[in-house]
Symmetry: C2
Subunit: 195 residues, 2 copies
Amino acid sequence: MARPREFDIEEALEAAISTFWEQGYEATSMDDLLNAMGLTKGSLYKAFGDKHNLFLLSLQDYLDHLFEKMKEAVDSDSDPVQSLNALMSLVEELCCKQTTPRGCFAVNTVVELSQRDGKSGEILKKHLIRVEKLLAKLINNGQESGDFRVDMSAEHLAESLFVYIFGMLAQSRGITNQARARRLSTFALAMLQAA
Amino acid sequence: MARPREFDIEEALEAAISTFWEQGYEATSMDDLLNAMGLTKGSLYKAFGDKHNLFLLSLQDYLDHLFEKMKEAVDSDSDPVQSLNALMSLVEELCCKQTTPRGCFAVNTVVELSQRDGKSGEILKKHLIRVEKLLAKLINNGQESGDFRVDMSAEHLAESLFVYIFGMLAQSRGITNQARARRLSTFALAMLQAA
DNA sequence: GGAATTATTGACCAAATAGTTCCGAACAAG
DNA sequence: CTTGTTCGGAACTATTTGGTCAATAATTCC
């Protein structure tokens, strides 16, 4: 009954994510987005609403995909040590195996926007909580298998591991160095292992 | 011989730092700065140049003060463990004992700007290096006194400690929680101590 | 007091910003 | 083929952006 959309909405969103990811929210203009997404204003506004709404959609989409990847990494092996290794590989990838040193969109947004924009803050908070829970679950498994230290609760160890990962991702915007990322990953693993 | 400046330049710079610190570079307008600094455009441009230059001056000033504070913390005690404690107290303060959860201006800028603005990137890189060296020195002292582990070089341990601190400061923009910060600090210390 | 010098002020500007509206064209369903 | 809908795209608007400048004011030296 009606004319079908001519562009792939998921593809366009991917382009928006890339743009926001690299430049941040404030530094990205509608023009940047239109170029990257290959749309004109009318289409964009009709499909995604205004800039802020597009940002929220981009952020949510990114977070969901990222979380999916993290779960995959964690579930990739029944051995907790191997799971953690897979997870840290993902982090290393974000740190220094990208075309541009854009770090992690989630981390970038926490720093740039979360406390100035309530909506973003809410979305991110939920994400941070589920990630930390995922880490806690992984660590708990490792404790039960005897691979990880048991002198602290899985939740508290997860807290520290998460902060460490967060630091790697944040710092990767300033320092890009593959060997360093490798060392940091190794240290993270050692940090959790039983004595 | 000439009309004297009516405002305190250091005070004005402090106001600029606060504004950039809380909002970031892009989200801060000249109007915000003028209000915060209590100046009119002409005066600001005469005294500090354009917005970008004012930002660089603010950043440098902040970094120098911060580094000074860090050195004081490190030198506050001859016992390396106490020194590290003092340093982590400083970090905790930045994390959750401020009027607004603004984290650390340096960390915020690394994430927001360092890879898009060469000048900021340069300034920050120099700072990051000197901070990491300071940490390495502190850790080296602790290794010689037998307090810190010696299974890794001071440089590599400093790398990890720095990333951890970086993570605390970055995450503090999204999660503000004093008890958590305390636990994280304690963990950082434990991470370095000899078995 | 007058000259020289510098700071302050506020009006002004050009460019870019986000966001809106409108219309002809394209398309699907009946 | 008609009709209803939604598309793409351009033209438009109102606001905000960072930035300039000439007139005015304050100070010191001579």
